[in-house]
């Protein structure tokens, strides 16, 4: 009896050891070589009002060990773009699946490009898919294409492997705005009712086509209402405290050459005030710069000169922000700056009353800009290089 | 497919019985009874659920008992 029990135990142990072999992912077993990895997705609107989904898919033929030179000779691109059309994104996706021999997988999707025709009809309804379907990540960067989104995805850059990677890296560099799917969802649900997306463009030149993040598309109540250019986008970034890398070049008064500064760090604070029913916003910017290039004969170690340069820099920043405020606050009347949130946070009670009238209040808000730039270091050299000591300019 | 599920349920019940039954000694009459009732009851319930998956269940029972309170939290 005891022996039998032991045997039973042995049998059980063996069975338990064998079972895991069949458990490798249950019904959802999927091997990498059965998947079509999507790295970029584009949304367009067809003339019939359907959605055209373009997917940039990693080309399995081009993956693997062979040398890249061999690839380009045989014409095997690292990615291919396929499109499908349907009533919803998922509908289009299933049409797209018919053309792809492997199962589509969005888990590695890095960018979502929204075409102009679609954006004009609103973006909220289409972004739901990216927060509901299990595969896509909220991390994917969202861009606006002033044209067709599929055009952007079809660009084969000669520097990175695919255009999705180029777009993502450009967003990371913060040349323009960086908006992830999560940020977009938050903006859409926010009180201001305004949304901004970075604009991505195709740059045509002799050496081929390259992508460029340039400018910003502004949405209000889910509708595309305007676009601003690169210079204004910089101003917008100053206000929303998203500026990370910046180079500022200016010409000192009474000099014919230039000095370049590199932005080290900057922080922006939005300070709302309500006085006697008058809404006012103070934008306070503190930033630090280093001198990186000095064409003039000015001595960068002279505190008096530095002081003047700082004042000039402050003026520059104020002008930049003024420009974008004129255009977006007064022109488009869209609160992409986060003023609504700032007021709500500081004046919850007054906000409750004014909430519904925000669209009328916002353009009327008086904005004061305070900028405090500090030039911290002169760089590796103090006085101007290549100028004899006694020839240095003092003022 | 339904007969396969019924078969599966019965096989599991039989396996459990084969495993537990010899372990109980002869004096544990009450335990044997409890075991038999629970196992049989589960099998009957499981088979019923295979054929009538939308049978009103414990949740509906509790729902009807606590409905007035539940309304308070609906949002």
């Amino acid at each position: 009896m005891k022996l039998l029990q032991n045997k039973g135990k042995q049998l059980l142990t063996i069975t338990l050891c064998v079972i895991p072999i069949f458990l490798s992912g249950c019904w959802d077993r999927s091997e990498v070589n059965d998947l079509a990895l999507i790295v970029g997705m584009g949304l367009d609107r067809t003339d019939e009002g359907d959605i055209e989904l373009s997917a940039q898919i990693v080309n399995p033929k081009a993956m693997g060990g062979q040398g890249s030179s061999e690839n380009s000779q045989s014409g095997g691109q690292p990615v291919t773009v396929k499109t499908g059309t349907g009533k919803t994104i998922f509908d289009a996706r299933s049409k797209l699946q018919e053309k792809v021999s492997r199962r589509l997988f969005e888990g590695h999707n890095r960018i979502v490009v929204i075409g102009k025709a679609l954006a004009e009809r609103g973006i909220r309804q289409h972004i739901d898919f990216f927060a509901r379907f299990p595969n896509p990540r909220l991390r994917a960067n969202v861009f606006f294409a002033d044209g067709k989104a599929s055009e952007i995805l079809k660009i084969m850059p000669n520097f990175e492997q695919d255009s999705a990677e180029v777009a993502r890296e450009l967003a990371e560099l913060r040349i323009g705005m960086k908006v992830t799917t999560k940020d977009l969802l938050q903006q859409l649900a926010s009180e201001s009712g305004a949304t901004a997306l970075p604009r991505i463009l195709v740059d045509k030149s002799d050496s081929g086509e390259e992508l460029r993040v340039n400018g910003t598309a502004v949405f209000k109540h889910n509708q595309l209402i305007g676009q601003i250019d690169d210079a204004l986008t910089r101003g917008l970034l100053w206000v929303t405290d998203e500026i990370e890398t910046a180079s500022v070049t200016l010409q000192p008064k009474d000099a014919k050459d230039y000095i370049s500064f590199k932005l080290l760090r900057s922080s922006t604070e939005l300070i709302p005030t309500i006085k006697n029913g008058k809404w006012k916003m103070t934008i306070t910017i503190t930033s630090e710069d280093d001198v990186v290039e000095n064409e003039t004969k000015l001595d960068m170690m002279d505190p008096k000169i530095i002081d003047k340069l700082q004042k000039q820099l402050n003026k520059r920043i104020r002008k930049r922000i003024k420009m974008v405020l004129d255009d977006v606050q007064e022109g488009m009347e869209a609160d992409v700056f986060g003023f609504a949130d700032a007021f709500h946070r500081k004046y919850p009670k007054q906000w409750k009353k004014a909430e519904d009238k925000w669209d009328e209040t916002f353009p009327e808000i008086e904005v004061a800009i305070k900028s405090d730039v500090k030039i911290r270091r002169p760089g590796r050299s103090g006085g101007p290089q290549g100028v004899p000591q006694d020839k240095e300019a003092t003022e | 497919m339904k007969w396969a599920m019924v078969l599966g349920i019965v096989v599991i019940a039989v396996l459990i019985t084969l495993y537990e039954w010899p372990k109980m000694n002869k004096n544990q009459k009450k335990e044997r009874k409890a075991f038999a009732v629970l196992t049989m009851g589960s099998v009957v319930l499981a088979v019923l659920l295979v054929y009538f998956p939308d049978m009103p269940g414990p949740t509906q029972l509790v729902d009807s008992l606590f409905k007035p309170f539940g309304k308070l939290l609906e949002k």
């Binding site: 019904w27 991390r139 | 019940a13 499981a46 414990p58 539940g70």
Partner: protein, 365 residues
């Protein structure tokens, strides 16, 4: 005595912690967020009051009958037949709730990772593993929890640390915009997670030492509260107003992690936390049902009925709701009151009757 194993106070706390947190960590941020919005991080603090109360009452009841569990002393307090009825109701509640927990687990795994796998395979295998641990007894469960909990907490901390760079502290303002009410409203449903500390009643008789029971029980409540405050705070700082829109905010948060284009796709960590936590949670409930049933039927051993009850458990997990929407509607409307009745009101009533009886007996003397 049918349970021969003994556990320490620390082990008890370690068993209780994941019993509460396992499902709360994924579901509470969305529920609190719905009611409390930017005050959602305050909700677990109010909710924890229910936890302290539950532990305190369980201990007072325990002091009246130090050797018995609620199944046994309910008969002594309110008479044999009413005691049996209360016991049956309680068993039904535990079985039902455990079915819900098992279902939540299955829904999460199927919804996020294995969409085409039948849910019964996932709940069934979990129920089987739990059955083995329950069959091993309280001591075995406590020891496995002791091994798993450090893993659980480390993984949780990893997620929290990786999320740090993504947080936006401004999301927390304005604090208490509409006063204290929204955050209390957001605490009603989570407070029922805290009343699950009621399960302490099934462990108290098997403690090795009688000292520090109160300390360990309360410490466990505090640990759960802190964990939930952190979870809610991080969900809020990351997602802001849209937290309540997600089914599983912590899961969505983990998917958002990306450190230097290198450390990404870490949601399997959340999965690991979830599996470990649910394993202990289901085991503790399961253990309470099994030992409760055995005591209700006056059996000499609880082990023979472990597997049959496991079968029943799997049936309940498929029976509780047709869909995740139905389940979550039930959880956020009816369940708080249902749980409150069995986990807090019932012990309070029992305690009051027991105290009155004691007083009457003293007066007789």
């Amino acid at each position: 005595m049918m349970e021969r194993g003994k556990i320490s106070g620390l082990q008890m706390a370690i068993l209780l912690y994941p019993t509460i947190i396992a499902t709360a960590i994924l579901l509470v941020p969305a529920i609190s967020g719905k009611f409390a919005e930017q005050d959602m991080w305050l909700s677990p603090i109010w909710a924890s009051l229910a936890g302290f109360l539950t532990v305190y009452i369980a201990l007072l009841l325990h002091n009246h009958y130090p050797e018995l569990t609620i199944m046994q002393y309910s008969g002594k307090i309110i008479g044999f037949i009413p005691g049996k009825i209360v016991g049956l109701g309680l068993l039904f509640y535990l079985l039902h709730t455990n079915g819900v927990v098992l279902r939540e687990y299955g829904e999460f795994v199927v919804g996020n990772f294995l969409p085409s796998t039948p849910i019964i395979v996932i709940t069934g295998s979990m129920a089987f593993v739990c059955a083995l641990s329950v069959r091993g007894g309280l001591e075995v469960m406590a020891r496995s929890a002791q091994i798993f909990i450090p893993v659980f907490m480390t993984l949780f901390l990893v997620i929290i640390l990786l999320l740090f760079p993504e947080l936006r502290p401004a999301n927390i303002f304005p604090v208490m915009d509409d006063g204290i009410t929204p955050s209390i409203k957001g605490a009603i449903v989570p407070s029922q997670w805290f009343t699950e500390f009621f399960l302490i009643i099934f462990m108290l008789p098997y403690l090795r030492t009688k000292e520090k029971r109160m300390t360990w029980g309360m410490l466990s409540v505090v640990a759960v509260m802190i964990t939930l405050v952190i979870t809610n705070l991080f969900s809020l700082l990351l997602f802001g107003d849209i937290t309540s829109k997600f089914t599983y905010p912590v899961m969505s948060a983990a998917r958002y992690i990306d450190v230097a284009d290198f450390l990404q796709h870490v949601e399997s960590i959340v999965m690991a936390i979830w599996v470990v936590g649910v394993f202990i949670k289901v085991s503790v409930f399961y253990y309470a049902i099994v030992i409760g049933t055995a005591q209700w039927l006056h059996l000499s051993d609880y082990r023979p009925i472990v597997f049959p009850i496991g079968l029943l458990l799997i049936i309940f997990s498929t029976w509780v709701a047709a869909s995740l929407q139905e389940l979550s509607h039930f959880l956020s409307t009816v369940w708080p009151f249902y749980a409150l009745v069995f986990q807090l009101v019932l012990p309070v009533l029992l305690l009051l009757v027991a105290m009155m009886r004691k007083k009457a007996a003293e007066n007789d003397n």
